[in-house]
Structures are given as C-alpha cells and as structure tokens.
C-alpha cells in the first residue's frame, strides 16, 4: 500500500570525508511509530537522519519522505528535525526561541506556550538559553521541533544528558505523539532506551546490523538485555 511508510530509504550511499558513511542502506519506517535508531557514535545515525531531512549530500540511492523526495520544499512544514547538539539561539529566552520557530512554520502563539509546557520548561520560559543546563537546552531544541506539530519528527539523541525521570517523561511524550499519528525517528546510543521503541534499527559502521521490534531482536539473539543483543549481533556479523 503506498503511503504506509513515512520514510523509505533505498540503497542510500553517502560518502563523508572519503569514506562510506552510509553503505547502501535500505530501510522503511512505518507511520505512527516510534522507531529507535541505535548504534555507537560514528555508526552513521546522524548521517542517515540528515539524509532523511534533506540536509545531506548523497552519492546515490533515494530517500522518500511522506511520499515526496527528501528535502523537497513541500516537506519543510511536515518534517521537523533536531540536531545532536542543541541548535537554538543562546542569547534568546526559551519563549523567544520557540516563538521564532513558531512564526517560521506558521504555528500560533498559544501553541508555543503549550509546547514549552510539553517539554517541561514552563518555569524556565523567560530565561535566556545560555543560562540553562545542557538537558534544558536540548529540551528547548526539542520544543522548536515540536512546535509545528510535524508529521515526521527526526530527533538526533534528544535525551542525552537528561536525568532518568525526565527521560521517562520524554519517551512517554514520544509515545503519545505517535499515538496521535506522528512518526518519530529517534536516535540514541543508550541501549536501554531501545525498549521504549515500537521498532528498532541497529547500525554499525554505516550498515544496518539488524531491525525489528525489541522483543524480536531479543528473541533472535537469545539475550535478555539490549546491550547483550547488540554485542552478539556485532560478533555474528
């Protein structure tokens, strides 16, 4: 059925700095799911995400997002992206940052306030981003991505440096957004976050190591923890 997948990647080949950052990857991401992109740093997670949002120069292969070629103008309101290091304006307040991105995507001011509440920063709304902790900054970045209620959210390590309680809350939010119909592609190098995903993509050295639901991957490897599953997949490969 056409349109069943939010993202379709076909034999994607990306070269960065003279080496294959992505080595002919083929992959689909189902709509309305939270898909975890897992792997050690340098495995190609960020490059794959950049290719999906259309900021990466690709050598060959195709990436189709919500039925259109990745990066096409029509997708700029429907896809949102956060980079690994929070890309927000340090010298503006939380509210000013979110309101700026709200105006760019045509979202209303009340929804800016709602979004700040959603990421748990209501008390910090008037503070300048420079004065916030690393975890708070990455939540500002997240808020600027959530603001337009995009159909596809591509989040590069959104939970780095967050305390466990906040991480749990954010994963609950991701689940809620997916339940409301959004598709989320979330990268992480923390394996225990894998269990919160509907679907997993395990990467290493620019290649797909495995994919499936968390129980499937555990069953296939006979492991009880995702860390061990990943290890046995690496050894088998």
């Amino acid at each position: 059925m056409p349109g069943a997948h939010a993202v379709e990647v076909d034999r994607l080949h990306v070269v960065r700095g003279g080496r294959d950052a992505l080595d002919r990857i083929t992959l689909e991401v189902a709509r309305g799911t939270v898909t975890g992109l897992l792997g050690p740093s340098g495995s190609g997670k960020s490059t794959l995400m950049r290719a999906i949002v259309g900021t990466q120069v690709v050598a060959s292969g195709t990436v189709t997002v919500l039925g259109e070629a990745a990066g096409s103008a029509g997708l700029r309101r429907r896809v949102a992206y956060t980079t690994q290091s929070p890309a927000v304006y340090d010298d503006l307040t939380v509210a000013e940052n979110v309101r700026y991105f709200a105006r760019l995507v045509g979202a209303s001011q009340p929804s800016a306030t709602e979004t700040i509440e959603l990421v748990g920063l209501a008390d910090e709304a008037g503070r300048v981003v420079r004065r916030l902790s690393g975890g708070q900054r990455s939540r500002v970045s997240l808020a600027t991505a959530l603001i337009g209620r995009p159909e596809l959210l591509v989040l590069d390590e959104p939970t780095v440096g967050l305390d466990p309680l906040l991480r749990r809350d954010l994963w609950a939010t991701f689940g809620q957004l997916a339940a409301d119909g959004a598709t989320l592609l979330v990268s992480s190098h923390v394996m225990d976050e894998a269990e919160r995903c509907d679907d997993l993509v395990l990467m290493r050295d620019g290649r797909l190591l495995a994919r499936g639901t968390p129980p499937e991957i555990l069953k296939r490897t006979g492991a009880t923890r995702m860390d061990d599953a990943f290890l046995s997949l690496v050894v088998d490969a």
Partner: protein, 243 residues
C-alpha cells in the same frame, strides 16, 4: 521572502540582548568622529572636508564586522542547518538579516550624524540629510558584504580577520588618501572595481561640491547594485544540503 519578518524581529532581539555589540555599533563611531574633530582642531576646514566622507564610511566598517560574525555564528552553531529544513527561503533569511541590520545601521548613522552636525559643528556644502542617507546605504552595503564574507570563514577569529582583508584595501583605494584621478592607471581601475570608491565619491560630492549631478546618481546606483549583488551571492553560499 518567506520568513523574513520573523527573522528581522529575532535578529533585533539578539542585538538588544548584547550590550557590547550595541556599544560597538553606537558608541565607537561617535567616539571616532569626535576624535577626528579633536585631531584637526588647529587645522580649520580639514574636519569639514574629511569628516563627512568618514561619517559615511564608519557605518560600513562597523556593520561589516558585526554582520559577518552574527551570520558565522548561525552557521557554526547549527541553527542555519535547522533553518534550512524549515519553510524559510534563503532570500527570506538574508532579507530578514538585511532589514534588521539596516534598521540598526539607520540608528547608528543618524546618531553619528547628529553628533557630527549638531555637537561638533560639521559643515558640508550639500544637504546633511543626504550624508545621513548615504551613510545608511553604506551601512547596508557593509552588512550584505559581511553576510557574504561569512561564508568564507570557519571561526569567528577568521571572520574578524576578514575586516583588514575585505575592508582595508577598499579604504586605501577609495580616494580618501589619494584622489582616484591621481592614482596610477592600474590602481585607478582597481579602485573603480571596488564599491567603497563609489561610496566615497558620493559622500565627497555632497560634502565638498554640493552638486547633485548624474555622477552622484551613478554612485548611488552602483552602491544599491552592489548591495543586491552581495545578497544574491550570499544566498548562493547558503546550502540546504552539505556534505
């Protein structure tokens, strides 16, 4: 020009949050023009002759530096990559920046001019208002060249060093130190290939001659043309996709 109005508002907000840059933009040119007046206090007529042209050139230099660094910050912090995934056109982004800095430049040029004409008693043959307008045009040109130059710097340190590379040769050749018609032929040709020569020529025509002729109109046309060209070239350096 999708997204230019929010971007203008955002850049102005950032400027307001940065008192040091505000001081650089507003206080330094005023201090420089006052210094110039003091320097030539015993040589009547000199301040009147070079004060007005310099009044028009200071905003060019100040805006070049501030804009190139602000834009470079956008590139290096990753916000530019974020913006390139949003429904914001490249011209919209540069237009937003251009409007914000043009507004800042107008405040700056008006303030320096007010101090020069009212407090320091600068006297020009033509209309002081025309000097203010030319100063604003130069400041906008400086901003747009700064936006363009930022594409060639990787760090803020490099961006600051572009000031001597981009601006000083233009300042030396613009006619302020040696009139262009007294330069050797190759230098004269080079001078007329640089936009600041037209800026200086226009300022000098208004300040000293007080005649508004086709040459003045040509100077202004070149300044506006260079500004537009710098925006278009600047937009070409913004890439939605990078490797």
């Amino acid at each position: 020009m999708n997204g230019s109005a929010p971007t203008t508002a955002r850049v102005l907000l950032q400027l307001r949050r940065d008192p040091r840059t505000m001081a650089l933009l507003l206080v330094v040119p005023v201090a420089l023009i006052a210094l110039l007046d003091w320097l030539f206090v015993d040589q009547p007529g000199v301040f009147d002759r070079i004060g007005a042209p310099l009044l028009g050139l200071f905003p060019f230099i100040a805006m070049f530096v501030v804009t190139s660094i602000t834009m470079l910050r956008e590139r290096t912090t990753g916000t530019l990559e974020r913006l390139m995934t949003l429904p914001l056109t490249r011209l919209g982004l540069l237009g937003g920046y251009g409007c914000a800095f043009a507004l800042a430049a107008s405040v700056q040029a008006t303030l320096v001019s007010a101090v020069a004409f009212v407090v320091l008693g600068l006297d020009v043959a033509g209309s002081p208002w025309l000097i203010v307008v030319l100063a604003i045009l130069n400041a906008v040109l400086g901003s747009t060249l700064g936006l363009f130059a930022s594409a060639f710097a990787r760090t803020e340190f490099q961006a600051v060093q572009f000031m001597p590379a981009f601006v000083l040769p233009q300042l030396l050749l613009c006619g302020l130190f040696v009139p262009t018609d007294e330069m050797s032929r190759p230098l004269e040709i080079l001078a007329y290939a640089l936009p600041l020569t037209y800026a200086y020529d226009a300022l000098e025509r208004v300040a000293v001659g007080g005649v508004y002729d086709w040459r003045l109109a040509l100077d202004v046309a070149v300044l506006i043309g260079c500004t537009v060209l710098a925006v278009v070239l600047g937009a070409a350096t913004l890439r939605r996709r990078t490797s």
